[in-house]
Symmetry: C3
Subunit: 431 residues, 3 copies
């Protein structure tokens, strides 16, 4: 297996290309993002769901588009400009073209007193409002007087788009990868997730596959709900492990968001891979969840979905501000996170329950798997790990559990299971 068919640099370069687009849960920016992804992944299918479609407790909202937005001061100077940073306009702002005084303007401004240099990311998807987001410094410099506010946006019957690739494997059982495409110019949350999912899909397409992969690029929350409303029965039956891919390219330590139950295959694999391949990682409580595991793990859906992240959403100061930009993420972090995800997928692909074909320990010596001379400083030698793995092939434990039980990394346990299988000492336990 080639872990790194792409370099972190290539991922970073693609991130730079997607970063400037003005995405939201609907609209041209999001559509364009999906089209660019289609260039990279010709297998990607783009779907559209009309405004007004009912999905569980929700209704697909109107489509939002925006071409320009700014504030002029009394002298006609453009003091806030959407074209400079698309975070300047509150997501789903209604159109406006008006002269307002300072007091009125102030009601529609959003800033962060504690991060005076940051433009906050603010949305109001389901309540028609207009607003501008600026730094606290900008806000503090505003004076009494008249201001011209212009938002050239439209809210109209339209389409909510999402992308899907289903990559078939030998089995109908599925692994789910899901990322969200609704954030505008924000890098770690979540250009990083879009890029990571794209390059994982490219990698998966080049691997021999046991499992089928369902890979989703959807608007957060409403997109997951729309998708689940169409596919949840099938997914409940087929998905054996899933990952919400987000916040994976900053330079922070790794974070782990478990599934609701916390004990699924996805949980076990993620914890194991993070334990053996990172300096340290932090496991959060499911109470801190914040992305589409909110839908995937909800009662009655109950999919085994987890997240492996670097700095988790909400937990880093740059989160949902203009500071979460391209300088906050790195090619090196992309590379490391990609490797962790590949190790997880590989572990799931190779995971099995095994039973032994012979009673008592096998005679490894006659198979060349054992040092023939026994001496105190050479107890069992390399064959120790073989015998430990063999010992736990009782038909009920899978390789991840055996790896934890024997305190070995899963890659080594997979290799040993392979050796023992070839020696016909163990077999996959089909039941």
């Amino acid at each position: 297996m080639i872990f790194l068919i792409c370099t972190g640099n290539e991922m970073y370069t693609t991130a730079e290309r997607l970063f400037p687009l003005s995405r939201s849960i609907t609209g041209d920016g999001t559509r364009l993002t999906l089209k660019i992804l289609q260039e990279l992944l010709p297998e990607l299918k783009i779907y559209g769901i009309p405004s007004g479609t009912r999905c569980f407790d929700w209704i697909v909202p109107l489509e939002w588009n925006i071409t320009d937005a700014y504030i002029l001061d009394a002298s006609g100077k453009k003091i806030v400009d959407f074209k400079q940073n698309n975070l300047h306009v509150m997501g789903y702002s209604i159109p406006i073209d008006a002269i307002v005084d300072y007091t009125e303007l102030n009601k529609h401004l959003y800033s962060l007193p504690c991060q005076p240099d940051a433009i906050p990311y603010v949305t109001s998807y389901y309540s028609p409002q207009w607003g501008f987001c600026i730094t606290q410094h900008q806000r503090d410099s505003l004076r009494d007087g008249k201001y011209k506010v212009v938002i050239k946006s439209t809210l109209a019957e339209g389409i909510l788009n999402y992308g899907e690739i289903v990559i078939p494997g030998q089995s109908e059982k599925e692994i789910l990868l899901s990322t969200y495409i609704c954030h505008p110019s924000l890098a770690n949350d979540n250009i990083s997730g879009i890029i990571m999912t794209t390059y994982l899909a490219k990698w998966i397409l080049h691997q021999p596959r046991r499992y089928t992969y369902r890979i989703l690029f959807i608007p957060e929350t409403i997109g997951a709900i729309v998708y689940l409303s169409k596919h949840h029965e099938q997914m409940k039956e087929k998905v054996i492990a899933g990952f919400v891919i987000t916040c994976c390219a900053d330079n922070g330590d790794f974070s782990f968001m478990p599934s609701k139950g916390g004990q699924s295959l996805a949980d076990n694999v993620a914890r194991h891979v993070l334990k053996w391949n990172t300096k340290e990682f932090r496991e959060y409580s499911f109470l801190e969840r914040g992305s589409d595991e909110r839908q995937y793990c909800s009662p009655g859906i109950d999919l085994p979905v987890v997240s492996i992240m670097r700095s988790m959403y909400r937990m880093y100061p740059e989160y949902h501000t203009s500071l979460d930009n391209l300088s906050f993420i790195s090619a090196e972090a992309f590379r490391e996170s990609f490797s962790i995800y590949c190790k997880c997928l590989n572990a799931i692909e190779k995971n099995n329950k095994y039973r032994v074909n012979c009673l008592c320990e096998p005679q490894l010596g006659k198979r060349g798997l054992f040092s023939q001379i026994s001496m105190k400083n050479n107890y069992l030698g390399d064959s120790r790990d073989l015998l430990n793995v063999f010992m736990y092939c009782d038909g009920t434990l899978d390789l991840i559990e055996i790896a934890n039980q024997t305190n070995l990394p899963i890659e080594r346990v997979i290799k040993i299971a392979d050796i023992l299988t070839k020696a016909e000492l163990i077999s996959v336990n089909h039941y």
Copy 2:
């Protein structure tokens, strides 16, 4: 719900009234105590079981009554007087009227060398003996010579009395409250339990009730055994949670005695309420049990019965001595403990398992349950707790478990379950 229909002061005043009576497992003092309780609780029924009645491994003993008892020294001076403190006579002492010398007297004296100012509480229910209990100081001042000892007691065929109120609810399922009425002038153990149980009964009578309440005022051990011998089959079927109410009015920190299994509804509710409503509390091992949970939790009875106390029996120096008097308990402690008990009963009354009525998260915004503008410093806002509770309404967890899972106090979870139920987003899971 009005938590405090009575004040701690009223409870304390009633304690003062009951304190002086000479109670035991049978006799006039205990009967009078029950009559006074009947004034406060006209619904209280008083039952009598004749001496000699066989109950499981036990036989109801003879009835014991006492009118006077004293010791005169050689000069005729009354040096010990039952009328000054009913603890001076060993419970169930046989009658005596004799002149004895110092050596003989000494064999019948009980005192506490390590607590020289305290009169110990001593009983001998099932072995006919006589004895006086005095302070160590009194004992040390005795000199050689003759003493006249008089105990005007009777042991005769009679009645063992207990009180019972069954307060019907919508359900036949029951909550058991049990306290013991056999201790003479001892305040925390257990006038406090008698008073607490009485005022809880009064409070319950004024509440809307889902459950039926079985409330018992019984002599400890023999009374519980007598009662269980008549009702245990019914109780095994009906009682979902029970509390032995004792030692609940001193100013010490709260104590908790779990049921034998330690995982019943009563255990879960008690631990939860104590955790959220006390500075700290101490959970004891069931091996330290000492009251009627000894019977309620015994093999084959197996009722889910716990105790919430302040300083637990045996664990405070004043226990079973004349120092456990009215100055050892307080109106404030009554009030606090009463509130804890009410919170427990209320939590049980409102406890249910719920299932969700919609898949995926509900759209709280359209119901006014959600801040419409999303910004980093306002993540989900108040609706976070709602979504957390909703997430665990999987039909298998009850609200106590959800409260622990979501790290919220049960009162808040009950309130949220009510809001979600009214919004038709969850329903009680009847099965």
Copy 3:
């Protein structure tokens, strides 16, 4: 029960007798060892399995015998002599009689640079080689030149021997004791195990027995595999607890090797007895296993077999060297370990599940099992333990579990169960 029908001294004296014999997995030294054991235990049966017999994945090897071996230097001086220490020859060395130069000799020498005074114990059972084991000091003193090497050994079709005693009890259920007899002059590992097993067998023969005892003296690994290949089905059905007896006479703290599952009766008893009867003991991971539990606990065999040791194999510096000699073990350590094993066997013999015969607590007073006078400093007195044991006689817990639950040593719980049984308050729960 007489715990010590033999003294540690007698065990040590027998160890001295067995120590010098040249044992291996086959051959005369091993046969002679079994014959000497037969003197001590006339019930011992000796079995022989021919070379070439297939057992699971293994084949019984040729029989190895050795009469002499030495190295002469160029001057004809005997510089290494098998007759001085049988560790000097690698186990299963092929015969040789040759003049070799220093370089060639060196390829066949084994020594321990970090323990320059120790002769290592080295074997090569399944790969035909010759070798001498010497101290590092000896090796360092060798110089260029010619050496005569002589090993008068034979490898030929023969017999693998093992000893077995089956001591019948009332029940067909069995307790397994297994030790290994294949180590030459090594004291703690494993003359100590041979001696301990022998004297335990003698002790068991003099005890009333509920269970049948299967007691094995076998070559390690191949012997266990040979034996299991003939008896594993019967053993799976009958063995309720087993012990691999080894490394039990040095003066180190106790060690415990659990069974694979770690929760069997043997595990529970061993942990309990070690907890209550040793200053401290160390429980190892099953990953550190190193003796015949490797076979007994293997998948599909799955016997509940543990080891109670002093210093565990591999964990003490003297292990598998000439330093593990008679001065490394002691009569006192034999006595202590013997006592621990007897306590374990006794606990298993007396272990039962009980159910109560009466509901609620029994009236202990009328049976003389209870202090009749109740006073604060005498709460329940001795009867407390009785009532605690009674409380857990729910028909599902065995006495070991009750001992752990009530925090009492198993001997006391057995005694209490006996008292309660005689009083007809509890009965064995046959189901």
